[in-house]
């Protein structure tokens, strides 16, 4: 076969086939999409109720079985009482849906989320504090009222400084009790939208987007409003730029272009662009040290995880494709140890550099991104903060319910 030598009937037939298929399709009303979206959301809530019902059923049946087993004579089976699960909620305050957690040290941390109050008061952003490593949490404090969309995040630093963003920016200087909004200077073309916050060495660095540009804003950690200054645009970025996780090192800004790019540099300084592997719309980069980089690339064939041992110069694929439609975030601890979290797929762990992954936590509610610090780890799901007890490879997760 030497090449194309005339009209290709198969090609024409394929094109006609595609056109015929399109002609067959009727356009359903857009409300079908909304209905399906609501079903997905309700299904997640329903899973929680079913889990509660299962726990209640076991709790009811187990004592009966034990009583029955202790007797030599097998008594007639007693009638099993019907199990009724009633989910009670406070009269005015709804449950908290947590979205992130951050610990400044192994003892003091803050989790953040929204509590949709009954009535018409919206879903204010609230924070809960722990002073015992995540075993228990105080009553929630209100960060901001209103009903702003978007997932809220939190970054704790030092003894009392906590930043929350949603994508507005708020700061607390008393460990998360009182909050005030942080305003920044005028943006180049539209309102600032805070994407990520990192606090290090007494300086807060904020990655914020304005339109299709991403800028770094810097200031003294914990300083009052109007204290952040625009350190300039990160070149080559878009409105989807994200800092690398866990955010302690702000020298890497990831841009979900095709292929994904990472901009390496410093606020106000020079930047160097480097391509990342994969073809994804939501890259997540984690760099626990200068050499060991991890990348989760989602939404292409379900997603892949890559690892580099030379600071992103060369990459190897570490895992098979994961489930489609679930955006994964990688949070690496070292060259061997990393977490992979997805709202729908739970939390997976590897301790062998990605050769094998184990699902270590799969709560019914959507799971957040883990926060790791000095061998400790926390992650939120629904109204629960999960705390790793023991080592990452063999430890277990314990729950602390907030609100």
């Amino acid at each position: 076969m030497t090449g194309y030598s005339g009209p290709d009937p198969v090609r024409r037939a394929l094109q006609r086939y595609g056109e015929d298929l399109v002609e067959q399709v009727q356009l359903p009303p857009f409300e079908e999409v909304e209905r399906r979206r609501r079903r997905r959301r309700n299904a997640r809530g329903g899973q929680l109720v079913l889990a509660l019902a299962a726990v209640a059923a076991v709790a009811t049946a187990l004592p009966l079985a034990l009583v029955s087993g202790a007797s030599n004579e097998r008594p007639a089976a007693p009638p099993v009482p019907p199990v009724t699960v009633t989910v009670t909620q406070p009269a005015t305050a709804g449950p908290i849906t947590l979205s992130d957690v951050s610990f400044a040290d192994p003892t003091h941390g803050v989790a953040i989320g929204r509590r949709c109050d009954r009535g018409n008061s919206g879903c204010p952003l609230v924070a809960v504090r722990s002073a015992d490593g995540g075993r228990s949490f105080d009553a929630p404090s209100t960060v901001a009222r209103g009903d702003a969309p978007g997932a809220s995040k939190v970054a704790a630093y030092g003894d009392d400084i906590v930043y929350a963003y949603d994508p507005g920016l708020y700061v607390s200087t008393d460990g998360g009790v009182a909050w005030q909004p942080v305003t920044v200077g005028p943006s180049p073309d539209s309102a600032w939208s805070v994407r990520d916050v990192a606090v290090r060495d007494g300086t807060v660095t904020v990655l914020a987007t304005a339109g299709e540009r991403a800028h770094l804003l810097t200031g003294v950690a914990g300083a009052p409003a109007d204290s952040l200054t625009d350190a300039g645009e990160v070149p080559g970025t878009t409105g989807d730029a994200r800092m690398q996780r866990p955010g302690g090192d702000v020298n890497a800004v990831v841009v979900p272009s095709t292929p994904p790019q990472v901009e390496l540099g410093a606020a106000g300084g020079t930047w160097q662009r480097r391509s990342l592997p994969g073809a994804c719309v939501a890259p997540s980069l984690s760099t626990p040290n200068a050499d060991d980089w991890w990348l989760a690339c989602s939404d292409r064939d379900g997603g892949q995880v890559y690892r580099s041992a030379d600071g992103g110069k060369t990459w190897t694929m570490t895992s098979p494709a994961t489930s489609a439609g679930d955006t994964r975030v990688v949070t690496a601890v070292s060259a061997k140890v990393a977490y992979l979290s997805g709202p729908e797929s739970g939390l997976q762990t590897t301790v062998d550099g990605g050769l094998t992954w184990t699902t270590t936590l799969r709560p019914t509610a959507a799971i957040g991104e883990p926060h790791v610090l000095d061998g400790n780890a926390w992650v939120v799901s629904g109204d629960v903060v999960w705390r790793l007890v023991g080592s990452i490879g063999s430890g277990r997760w314990e729950a602390a319910t907030v609100g």
């Binding site: 076969m1 030598s5 005339g6 009937p9 037939a13 489930s323 439609g325």
Partner: protein, 188 residues
């Protein structure tokens, strides 16, 4: 999501829903299944539209999600039996009444999924080889090989169909300015 917020998504839905369903149906061999997959992709897009609306080509994102969902369903085997029965059924819900059309649909459904995906993305979705390679996460050479083998396999299956058999295996220019032989090797 308020009506004002989702205006862009509604516009995209009206413009691309039928096209996406047609493309996914060509891969899955089932229009109803494709409608379900594309609806699901739009529902997921609705949940994160504020992010997606900034993309240059949200339709490509929707197509990728729908394709991934189709693969995922196959892998899980939830509908594998039904799909396999459909694919192997002698009676086919052909999109057109022409016997040639029925033969083409049957032949397409008998191809390996990877080859069928490549043919559909190239000839029906009208993507470039490089775009297909990026979407599927494989080298461009692999896409060319799949296209070449897929066309050859189609030609073999359609050899006896009057209007489709002749010269059916000759590969057209692949829109990268290169040609390929039957083994997927690129020739200038």
């Amino acid at each position: 999501m308020s009506g004002r917020d989702d205006a862009g998504l509604r516009e995209l839905y009206a413009a691309s829903y039928r096209r996406l369903v047609g493309q996914i149906a060509a891969m899955t061999g089932d229009v109803s299944e494709a409608e379900d997959l594309v609806q699901e992709a739009f529902a997921r897009a609705a949940a994160q539209w504020r992010r997606l609306e900034r993309y240059d080509n949200p339709e490509a994102w929707l197509r990728t999600v729908a394709m991934n969902l189709a693969r995922s369903r196959w892998r899980r085997g939830k509908r594998a039996t039904a799909v396999m029965l459909r694919l192997r059924a002698s009676h086919i819900e052909a999109p057109g009444p022409s016997p040639d059309h029925v033969a083409l649909v049957t032949a397409l459904r008998e191809l390996p999924a990877a080859q069928r995906e490549a043919l559909v993305l190239f000839h029906i979705v009208d993507l470039q080889v490089d775009e297909i390679a990026r979407d599927l996460g494989v080298p461009a050479g692999t896409v060319k090989a799949r296209l070449s083998r897929g066309r050859a396999a189609l030609a073999e299956r359609l050899r006896d169909v009057p209007d489709l058999g002749a010269d059916a295996g000759s590969p057209p220019a692949d829109r990268t300015g290169q040609r390929e032989n039957s083994l997927g090797e690129v020739r200038p």
